[in-house]
Symmetry: C2
Subunit: 305 residues, 2 copies
């Protein structure tokens, strides 16, 4: 019903998630199958999509991409235009003693890039998705952050790192996420918490980093621009000032970000939020039981204009 | 030379390490080969050896043992007399959604115990060695610590954990350890730091736990008793009040523990310590270049008596 209404009335919409680890195109195909509805890759914004904005800076610099299965996130980063992407297993393959507990399988070794990290420095670290090996990734991330000019295994300033030398970016701020398990699971933000505290214990310095994903404003600016471009496919008029409605189940990410961006926020009760009235910390403009009621409410608002 | 002197003069000695993950017998065989010297398992004390003292309490209770490769640490715990030992992969095999990022291999599955953790509660958690999968182990440890009476997947007090319900034991307090890599690697103590901070962020409560290994007094008491028993094999007289000498390279563990235990501490320059004079925070009774000089110094002291 939602599907038919959206399709028939040609209401431009996009899907904005804190998930990722695959390309927007792959995600669009995955979601199209689930929804039985042809979704374009232009309609899918993943947590790391706005990190495309880093391409001009790091296009030809060696960057370390963290997270995801196999080398999926390397492929995502390359699809954005980063030309020299390495993953933690490349570093383990270069020198196993950096984290002797990670045993590379035959399959892992097939995905490896052979690089001498003592000669080719890492210029930035970008976490694209959940770490599959927290110990390895905590160790290697701090090794790079503490390194002299990104040369792995060399220490900056005689073991006193300023931790600002190598920029660090996270795609997803969430501390927890939900799946079939009855209690929420630890997300990329929990990894960041561990890194943050460990960095301080080891170096005495605070970690510095930049966040992407919801509820970061950079992500909403990126999404608004994508939505505007997508909308222009279906209309001749330029629509820069149309109202944007955001429907989400997570007050701390979906609603907080939408409110901050000046969008009209609608909170549904089908996920993280299950309260009766509204979220006390990040209240939405409107609360409904499900996505269908959200769409109906949006129609009622727009038809009245 | 050291070997010949120790052997010929029958000076009773033991080896006390913060390492582990295998049985004392396996470690003795491993070291005997390296040293080309027949070491008895009674002469080897690993970080988790004093955890034998927990056997009377948990002999027939289900305990979760963390760390080590495969199911090695389960075997170690069973060799101590714990009869119902489970490992994190048993829990992942029971419900993959608890940590979907850990993919169990065919080899992993062979080592699995099939248990319904919603029906058989975990009564204590013991970390025997370095985690091979920090994300999995942080998540599962906090799930158990926050659980109602050790039933995995159920929360104590409506998501407010007191974190004292299920006892937690660590075998090794070290934050870092040294291997071939030019900078020290993160040890079990770093995992504990992550757990500690994550627990506080998630629950608002401080983690409570008990430490074994060097420099914990419990480990030195255990070692002294083992040394006394071992010494009695070679002499008819009971030797309870003989002086104990401790040789070590790590001021924060070896020397700190020895000093606290009232042993005579000797710091060598062949490892963690490389200072000229003495360690400022944990000064040893005597500082020498290497183990040979340490043994010669001990002989000079004992011959003078």
């Amino acid at each position: 019903m939602v599907r038919i209404k959206l399709k028939s009335e040609k209401i431009p919409f996009i899907l904005l998630t804190n998930g990722g680890g695959i390309t927007e195109k792959e995600k669009a195909i995955e979601l199209s199958k689930i929804l039985d509805f042809n979704l374009s890759e232009d309609q899918v914004i993943l947590s790391h999509s706005p990190m495309r904005s880093l391409v001009p800076t790091y296009q030809n610099s060696q960057i370390l991409v963290l997270g995801g299965a196999g080398d999926n996130c390397r492929k995502v980063a390359e699809s954005y235009g980063f030309n020299r992407v390495v993953i933690p297993n490349d570093i383990v393959a270069w020198d196993q003693s950096i984290w002797p507990f990670t045993k590379l399988s035959q399959e892992d070794l097939k995905l490896i890039k052979k690089i001498d990290f003592s000669k080719e420095p890492i210029k930035a670290i970008m976490m694209f998705h959940d770490s599959r090996d927290w110990g390895r990734d905590l160790q290697i991330t701090l090794d790079v952050l503490r390194s002299k000019d990104g040369y792995v295994g060399k220490l900056e300033n005689n073991d006193v790192a300023n931790l600002t030398n190598i920029p660090l970016y996270f795609s997803n701020p969430d501390i927890i996420w939900s799946n079939d398990f009855p209690i929420s699971r630890y997300a990329q933000g929990s990894f960041r918490i561990c890194l943050d505290f460990l960095a301080e214990v080891i170096t005495g310095h605070k970690l510095k980093y930049k966040l992407f994903g919801k509820p970061e404003p950079v992500t909403y600016l990126y999404a608004a621009e994508k939505l505007r471009k997508f909308a222009m496919k279906f209309t001749d008029e330029n629509v820069p000032n149309r109202r944007i409605y955001a429907v989400g189940d997570n007050p701390a990410s979906d609603i907080a970000g939408a409110n901050r961006a000046g969008w009209t926020s609608i909170l549904v009760r089908t996920g993280v939020f299950s309260g009766k009235v509204n979220d006390p910390i990040n209240p939405a403009n409107h609360v409904v039981d499900n996505i269908l009621h959200a769409v109906e409410w949006i129609f009622s608002k727009e038809e009245g204009i």
